[in-house]
Symmetry: C2
Subunit: 498 residues, 2 copies
């Protein structure tokens, strides 16, 4: 077999892999946006089946044979990384016995629906036995995959390769100290933003029209994507030319949809701007959850919650918004959308307290995987940490340990990405500021230079670069929480006259 | 291997087959309703890949082994029919060499996009080379599949098993004679319906609200389906609990959406009401295109274009419609929606001239497959037949031979189903009238008894019964055009005072 023909065969397999992934993504998108109620049950079978087929392909002997033949042979950079990436996928997947994988996929699907019920009823005991099994599987998988220092590192690797418990345990306490200090000073400030000025009936179609206008200014390509309603907003890439975003409209509070759309738009820009040469390879997607979140948070916080943005876009906003905003000054508005106030629900948290929510989850899941705590004690431990970190206690588990879907889907090791992404974003911003006049760009209403900078430095590479390599290449340093702390300190000192 | 375990394994394979079909259907639905423009190209690859996987499964040695072991062994009726149906699929598929199947799937996909361009430009020459290849493939496939009298029968079998060229050549001329006689008498009538009373701006959301209300009265289950916009309306079953319909809104002419929705709703009721015990087998769908069309046309014509319906629903309609209809009497309205007037476009044709459009297509495709005419002569022959059957000549091929997508998708043998369905529908109505007071039911606004009758006699069986067996069981006779002729004669004699 000539090397050429091996590569051609390998590319064929990657195309099949890509096709399965697109079918699975479409199925997920449909289940979260369009599917009629009674269709869900059968659809779960379809997703399970396609996931199994994909898993079979990725663990097939034929896949491995081609990988072995290609490994180390001279070929272009894309193929090299594709082989490397595929080998890693192969090895990680092969370590899990087929039967266990199947059982686990079924457990995930079942657990998500049980979690939904438990959350509605605020009854953790319904979910507990499923969560126990999910934790057990994840411990087992972590052992199969292997790790150096901490078993939890094996799971972290799935979402943020290169980042370890050791790093997080250094960075998070520093960040926590800075944030809680800031929150304390804010609590003592005489400035009290008034979020009630934001309330009022704001029809869905007007919120949507404003959001679409902002998405277009960000450079989101509506010929390669679409915006739909959902309950839990997300962005999903079917392929680089079909990257969809979803949002949720609360007609009494526009913040959910407007900031949510900018956030998901940030994710989508990443996927839409990956180099076309990576198409039909496993490299044609964001390199990690953390880098992905750096893109969504960049746009949501540094643009959407930024004073320059509202200075230049408040009039546009008022064109779409109910008349009440005519009476609200820009300053009052800006203060209100940046109110800092400890809250129960992570996805509703403000910029400043958000990372504290993440740390609570990180500490709990790390302890679970290390067998230091038991699932049955989670509600109590959760509430204790809420009091400890945020000074408030959830009234029920619905506003507490049951609020997030992640654990129900078996996603342990995922949560830290949110905080990492936030720190990465601030690091990127620090470099970008040296090259671009962000203030002027935002004021101009044409955000193209920002998007182009992110594409040049981050988006285009897809999985060609690992997350920490991107950070290193762009910022010339490693993960560093100082930029985030500096940004938050400056911003909130100004808002709260600290 | 015990018989039980063979059956279990077979059921597993059928579940896989069902899963592929659902994924393919979802993909098609998305491509026709939601997909962003730039996503189409990659998606075509995904559809092609899934279709190939399904074909591999359906022609696999393993599938055949299980079928052979099960064939003739005592098992329940559903399994018996599933085995029979699967064996037929297997045998028909196996007769086509894999490589030819693959080439053909790619040709179909390519031809559809070329056809679209050719239609837009009204330039048949662009499409001609593709159509020639498609005809050649279909001739070849027909030869592989085999036939007794006429090569075209092998293709007809795909859509209406049991119906042959011989039957059609007997029935169609009779039907044509009756219809053209009626049209002639109508042309001489002094009654001239005035369709201009129907024109006026009718906002999409109001048309939609009225259509949804009628769909609900028909018994369409919105918890097991949904209604979306599209360019070429269709109904599609993902599974019995997820049967979606689509429609097109013309804000200057409500007929497209209102009658179209009732039509697609008729298809959807068939799929939603198949016996649940057929789920996850190839029997859980309509038994043939002809029987399917009998259901959509039943509702569209016998309900939607019926005087009793408008007598009891005109007020409801006026609630949604623009105020102009306040000035239009029920009689004028009813006459206008039933105007008979030869037209170029099949899907816009009235009840009476519609079957003539079908006959033109049938005669041309039969002659093509029998090598009696050549593709290059189609535009000329099409126009000649239009003059001959309908007395009008299309100004360009866009309104002529290029109007339908069917041939571009390789669907030869499909068109007759439309006329067969129409005749079947009239036969069903004749029997239903003996058991139900249709007039009273329609007047009552609760159409449940009609839907229940159709479910009991047709829907529930899915593919458990072959089309001609259903006709026989319900009507105690064979295909018979007399009922349709009688219905049309009575209805249009009354409207046109013949």
């Amino acid at each position: 077999m000539s090397n050429q023909s091996v590569e051609t065969q390998f590319r064929e397999l990657l195309k099949e892999q890509t096709a399965y992934k697109e079918a699975i993504s479409l199925t997920h998108w449909d289940m979260r946006t369009k599917i009629p109620k009674k269709g869900v049950e059968q659809r779960s079978e379809v997703v399970g089946f396609l996931a199994e087929k994909l898993h079979q392909l990725e663990t097939s002997d034929r896949f491995k044979e081609l990988l072995d033949e290609l490994n180390g042979t001279p070929t272009d950079d894309v193929m090299k990384r594709a082989v490397e990436e595929s080998l890693e996928t192969y090895e990680r997947n092969r370590k899990i016995p087929n039967e266990e994988f199947k059982q686990y996929v079924m457990l995930q699907s079942k657990s998500e629906s049980i979690w939904q019920e438990a959350r509605e009823k605020a009854d953790f005991s319904l979910f507990q036995p499923y969560l126990e099994k999910l934790v057990d599987y994840n411990k087992k998988f972590a052992t199969y995959w292997g790790y150096e220092d901490n078993i939890y590192d094996a799971l972290l690797h799935n979402y943020e390769p290169g980042v370890t418990t050791k790093t997080l345990d250094e960075v998070f306490p520093k960040l926590r100290k800075s944030l809680t200090d800031l929150v304390e000073r804010i609590n003592q400030s005489s400035v009290k933003p008034d979020p009630s000025v934001l309330q009022g009936h704001f029809p869905k179609q007007d919120q949507e029209a404003f959001s679409i206008e902002i998405l277009k200014k960000m450079g989101y390509d509506f010929e390669a994507g679409r915006l739909d309603d959902t309950i839990h907003p997300f962005a999903i890439s079917l392929n680089q030319n079909d990257v969809r975003i979803t949002t949720r409209y609360d007609e009494e509070d526009f913040r959910m949809a407007v900031f949510g759309t900018i956030h998901e738009g940030g994710h989508a820009l990443y996927e839409q701007n990956i180099d076309a040469k990576l198409a039909n390879t496993p490299l044609a997607t964001g390199t990690s959850m953390g880098i992905h979140e750096s893109q969504s948070l960049f746009w949501e916080n540094f643009l959407g919650r930024n004073k320059d943005f509202w200075q230049s876009h408040y009039e546009l906003f008022k064109n779409y918004a109910p008349t009440q905003f005519e009476q609200v000054s820009l300053d009052k508005f800006y203060q209100a959308v940046n109110e800092v106030k400890p809250s129960f629900i992570r996805i509703e948290a403000d910029e400043l307290t958000y990372p504290l929510h993440i740390m609570i989850r990180y500490e709990l899941e790390k302890a679970l995987i290390n067998s230091e705590i038991e699932v049955k004690d989670l509600p109590k431990l959760w509430n204790e940490k809420m009091v400890d970190y945020l000074g408030i206690e959830p009234p029920t588990d619905r506003e507490g340990v049951l609020q997030d879907i992640h654990w129900a889907g078996g996603d342990f090791g995922y949560f830290p990405s949110y905080a990492l992404g936030y720190m990465y974003a601030a690091q990127f911003k620090n470099v970008m500021e040296k090259e671009l006049n962000i203030k002027d760009i935002i004021a101009s209403g044409d955000f193209a230079p920002i998007r182009q900078w992110l594409t040049k430095n981050v988006h285009q590479y897809g999985k060609m670069k690992k997350p920490l390599q991107i950070i290193e290449d762009v910022t010339n340093e490693q993960l560093n929480p100082d930029y985030l702390v500096a940004y938050l300190t400056e911003k909130y000192s100004s808002i709260y006259s600290l």
